[in-house]
């Protein structure tokens, strides 16, 4: 009997002990970020480059952070619906969002009702760039950028250049090219990169601003006049950059992640570390390069400085154009 009671007491004590341990542990975890699921907003449709990158990061992020990462596609208005959702979320690090440049800079500048301001999206990490290049078809009458520009100067507005959307990476590249060269073209926007590529390949536009992955896909029927990269793009070694031809411009779509403004700096540090771990993983980097992207690794502070610098540049262009 006694032994039985003792055994019971022991069992109860043990159980209490375990519970206590678990609770104590739980408390410790609560104090430490993260202790619950993190929502990762992708402000574009499933299947796009932003979505696929996020889906690919998901598992590795979960391993790095020790919690589940739930990807939520909130698309619309060129990403603005997703970013305005993030801007109004609690700044606790449990809601993060993919963010793209130039989108998050250009939209608040040119739109009456963007739903968010650039500063409301606190930069976390920049992981990739899709460079943009200017191209013509191989059988085009222009064989290099010089001929192209001189023709445009002699025939203002006659050359049509296709691209995706208005005040997007492609459109801003077009505006910069006009501003830096003094030549005049006609921009033909499409609702997405794919239709603009189709228009171009069919000969309906003379030239095209296109993402690096599309340029690589159609490499054997096009002649890239200028790439918007600092150095030559590794997958297209024969394509000259704008810079080496004396036009000081780069063009591309940068993708990174952000949190709502006001998120504590220690939380940002945890997330930044996790992203650095994921995005410097050789397998991840190889996949991104396969998809035609340039891998970048900018931490929170560098990313913020980059946004400030780029925003100043865009603001100047748009002001000179009288858009803002």
């Amino acid at each position: 009997m006694n032994i039985q009671i003792n055994r019971l007491t022991a069992a109860v004590l043990l159980l209490l002990g375990i519970t206590g341990f678990v609770f104590a542990n739980g408390d410790a975890e609560n104090a430490q970020f993260p202790s619950k699921n993190i929502t990762y907003i992708v402000p574009f449709n499933p299947g796009g480059q932003s979505d696929i990158t996020a889906q690919y990061q998901k598992e590795m992020l979960e391993a790095a952070l020790g919690v589940n990462v739930v990807i939520k596609n909130i698309s619309g208005a060129g990403g603005a619906v997703g970013w305005s959702t993030l801007a109004s979320s609690a700044p606790d690090g449990y809601t993060i969002s993919g963010n793209n440049i130039p989108h998050i800079i250009a939209q608040p500048l040119v739109k009456d009702n963007p739903g968010y301001q650039t500063e409301q999206l606190e930069p976390l990490y920049l992981f990739q760039t899709t460079p943009i290049g200017l191209t013509v078809l191989k059988d085009s009458r222009w064989s290099n950028l010089d001929e192209f520009i001189s023709y445009a100067k002699a025939h203002p507005g006659e050359i049509t250049i296709g691209g995706s959307g208005t005040y997007t990476g492609h459109h801003i590249a077009y505006l910069m090219l006009q501003q830096l060269t003094g030549a005049e073209f006609t921009y033909i926007p499409s609702t997405g990169a794919a239709p603009s590529v189709a228009n171009f390949l069919g000969g309906h536009t003379d030239a095209l601003f296109a993402n690096s992955n599309d340029l690589v896909t159609h490499n054997n029927e096009i002649n890239v006049l200028g790439m918007g990269t600092e150095e030559r793009f590794t997958l297209l070694p024969d394509a000259p950059t704008f810079i080496e031809q004396g036009i000081d411009m780069t063009a591309g779509i940068d993708r990174g992640v952000c949190v709502p403004q006001g998120t504590p700096s220690d939380v940002i540090a945890v997330l930044e570390d996790a992203f650095r771990k994921v995005c410097t993983d050789p397998e991840f980097m190889a996949k991104m390069e396969d998809m035609g992207m340039v891998v970048q690794n900018l931490g929170a502070a560098e990313y913020k400085a980059y946004i400030v610098k780029t925003a100043a540049k865009y603001e100047e262009i748009l002001k000179q154009l009288g858009v803002i």
């Binding site: 909130i74 603005a80 033909i188 536009t205 992955n213």
Partner: protein, 502 residues
């Protein structure tokens, strides 16, 4: 290489993945609001760790299955399960109301399989030349294509052409809400961020088709949906099969239309189904019987939209330009596997590519048994369960489907508003078809129009660009013929009458 591809394809795992894909696709497609695009997008992350062949056969199976599955809800509850099945509602639901729901599903199944196989044939043998030809389709051609598309209203609104035109105009008006496709100015958003997106097709479609049906179910006070319950008939499958085999041109014509529309980037299965339906009506000796529940209508739409699946893959695989939204998601999966579209996809990655193409043949054949089994169960179920359960369930699906598109409540409200519009409209004799058609064609039309004007202006003539291109001229002729067809038929009949009398 072909033999290698076949060896690569015929493994137990691949067979399992194709079956799973088609089965899951049918299920997702049958649920209103859950589209093929969504089904593929949801599965792409799961294919990251798979090998390329497994991943592609699974996704291809889902694509084929989902486009077919959309016919179930179109037939049973008058709500297209995917936008591709809009034209299936016209005769499919009319058949269901006569108690022939299973017959309609059999028709849809057989037509989908045959149409799908014809589409795969074009994909395997003619992909490169067809995608080259599709590139000739530029902004002016898109503009004329949509004008041609609008003439379909005359067919869709069989009761009153005037009300059809009003509905179509309403749809076109709705399509300008949101950010302009060109220039990016915001229209009719009333300060709301969600409205900047414009009216999305899926919530509007679910609202217009599904909600009036749910209200109708409750208002009728019957305990069960559809007065005539599912009835058992012997040798029904064989009978319908032979009836369809007597109309080879209907199936082939619809499948060719589906393939062609699929190849043209930006025009998807919804347009394919409606154009094929329209042509079936026009060619028929009994155009008046369309819409009253005849198998020809169901077969035209379904043969066309399953052929469109392969059609949309043609420019995707050869040029990296997806022919329809689900193909766009598939393109992402392809790139992630390190497969870059283009000519050398068929040469250096030939085994993988061809085993994917051959898997589509199997997927289409698998639709037959899987579709017939699940279709029978579904048509029994819909007429078997009481309205008190069915109506709330369908309503729940409508809400989930609308929400799931962007994870946004605004789409649910849009769905509900369109539900009310649809209900009032139906009472007043306006059908949902022309409104949805206007909404689909509006943005394509606007983009084609503005791009053409910009193109024309750069080269000196903003108007000339619409009338100087060969394909445009063909489209204009088709439009005129289509618009005046009823008149042409009348004149022809009068003339024949006179000849017979004389």
């Amino acid at each position: 290489m072909i033999i290698d591809a076949l060896q690569l394809l015929f493994t137990p795992w691949n067979m399992l993945f194709i079956t799973l894909g088609v089965g899951a696709g049918i299920l997702v497609g049958a649920l209103p609001g859950l589209t093929a695009t969504m089904a593929i997008a949801l599965l792409v992350p799961f294919t990251f760790s798979m090998n390329a062949v497994h991943s592609l056969v699974l996704l291809g199976g889902i694509y084929s299955g989902a486009i077919y599955g959309g016919s179930f809800s179109a037939i049973l509850i008058n709500t297209p399960g995917t936008p591709s099945a809009i034209a299936t509602t016209f005769d499919g639901y009319a058949m269901a109301r006569k108690g022939e729901s299973y017959a309609a599903i059999i028709t849809a199944t057989i037509a989908s399989v045959i149409g799908g196989l014809i589409g795969v044939f074009f994909l395997i043998f003619l992909a490169p030349p067809l995608s080259r030809a599709a590139l000739k389709f530029g902004p002016p051609e898109f503009f004329w294509l949509t004008v041609f598309g609008l003439t379909i209203i005359a067919t869709l609104a069989s009761k009153s052409i005037l009300k059809g035109l009003i509905g179509g105009a309403f749809g076109l008006l709705l399509s300008v809400i949101g950010i302009a496709p060109i220039e990016g100015s915001v229209r009719y958003s009333f300060g709301s961020i969600s409205m900047q997106n414009g009216i999305a097709l899926i919530p509007a479609m679910i609202g217009l088709f599904c909600i009036p049906e749910v209200i109708g179910m409750i208002a009728k006070k019957d305990t069960h949906y559809n007065v005539i319950p599912y009835k058992r008939e012997k040798k029904l499958i064989r009978r319908i099969f032979f009836r369809l085999m007597k109309k080879p041109f209907l199936l082939i014509r619809s499948a060719v239309i589906g393939t062609v529309v699929g190849i043209i980037p930006g025009a998807g299965g919804n347009i394919a189904g409606m154009v094929a339906y329209n042509e079936a009506v026009r060619v028929s000796k009994f155009p008046k019987r369309f819409g009253t529940g005849i198998i020809d209508g169901v077969a035209a739409s379904e043969a066309s939209n399953n052929a469109e699946v392969s059609g949309s893959l043609i420019p995707m695989l050869t040029l990296g330009i997806p022919g329809a939204p689900p193909a766009a998601v598939l393109l992402g999966a392809l790139l992630l596997q390190g497969l870059r579209p283009g000519p050398y996809l068929f040469t250096s990655h030939g085994e993988i590519t061809y085993s994917f193409l051959f898997s589509l043949i199997l997927a289409n054949i698998l639709i037959l048994p899987l579709g017939l089994i699940s279709g029978k169960a579904m048509s029994k179920l819909i007429t078997g369960i009481p309205v008190t359960i069915l109506a709330p369930f369908v309503f729940l699906l409508s809400v989930i489907g609308s929400f799931a598109i962007n994870n946004n409540m605004a789409d649910v409200y849009i769905m509900l508003i369109f539900g009310i519009i649809g209900f009032i409209g139906r009472k007043a004799g306006f059908s949902a078809g022309p409104i949805v058609l206007g909404l689909i064609l509006g943005s394509i039309c606007e983009q084609g129009l503005v791009q053409s004007i910009l193109m024309g202006r750069a080269k000196g003539s903003a108007i000339g660009v619409f009338f100087q291109r060969p394909i445009s001229i063909v489209m204009i002729i088709l439009t005129v013929v289509s618009a005046f067809w009823p008149l042409i038929v009348k004149i022809k009949n009068n003339w024949r009458h006179k000849v017979e009398k004389g």
